[in-house]
Subunit: 177 residues, 2 copies
């Protein structure tokens, strides 16, 4: 059961005229409540060849390692979201380089976007959503304890690109099965 | 006045514990109703050096020209959204190349993403949201009648990149004033 956020009437799910998909439609006020994917934006902060990862202090994936990232907010740009999330989760100040990976994750209705970034100092410390924040060299990355596939894919691209000497932009999907 | 979509109670806007921004919070069921930017995904379809544009049959910007694009839907990938919107608005079948531009538009809480694309045939025709669909060579692009700044920026990048012989990836912002 869903209710209209404008007028509190009960919503019905049906295909509006001229549309092709069922939507939550309000018969009382006429509003169509579309539901769209959310952007999760983060960074790949680098210091002297090592990458900064955060160990999650929240669900999902409590205790697993992730790049700093989170839901983009209204009134900010994607770049601002990457800076804000890195500061909130890792207490880390970064300078963004280019967007690096863009990965659609339709099974959770998200699109993940990571920027390459340069860590500006070593004064980082875990925020409320992190248990610890650590710089990893490639050989020490905890591959079996990475929180999300988008983070694992982004890290793999980064190490492969470093080896090849050229950082591209990586767009891909984790399709619905 | 806003209401909870789960339980129809009135919502209050306040900063939840551990958060830093005011949110619509439901005191009845506890739900926090986050509001996040939406992704608008489209394509730059090319045929023999000419670009496909659609003249809008809907508001906003009725009668102005745009690249085919629209809100990404749940359960699809960004690439699927670009193909779908191009088919819906321009009746055009395309093959996507790489993501080309990613532009944050915080004043409308959107992020626009355009893919470079190859038009597969000339069987296009306007969908319900378009008045006409036309292939433009550079000298004939209706620059003063482009619907959205993100479309104008993307077109300018495309013609500049074509001249330089190399298509990059363009990330930028249209910041809040």
């Amino acid at each position: 059961m869903k209710f209209c956020s404008n007028c509190a009437a009960r919503l019905a799910k049906r295909v509006p005229p001229g549309d092709s998909l069922p939507r939550y439609v309000c018969d009382a006020c006429g509003e169509i409540h579309y539901q769209n994917p959310k952007l999760v934006v983060g960074a790949v902060p680098v210091w002297d060849g090592r990458l900064l990862l955060c160990r999650r202090a929240i669900e999902p994936r409590y205790g697993y390692w992730t790049l700093p990232a989170g839901f983009m907010e209204n009134d900010e740009t994607a770049a601002q979201a990457a800076l804000r999330e890195t500061l909130e989760e890792a207490g880390a100040r970064i300078e963004l380089e280019a967007p690096y990976s863009l990965i659609s994750v339709p099974h959770v209705n998200q699109v993940h976007l990571f920027y390459r970034a340069r860590l500006l100092d070593l004064e980082f410390k875990p925020g409320e959503e992190s248990l610890e924040v650590v710089l990893f060299e490639e050989a020490r990355v905890p591959w079996k304890e990475i929180a999300f596939r988008t983070v694992g894919l982004t890290l793999k691209h980064w190490f492969a690109d470093r080896k090849s000497g050229s950082y591209g932009f990586h767009a891909e999907d984790i399709p619905l099965r």
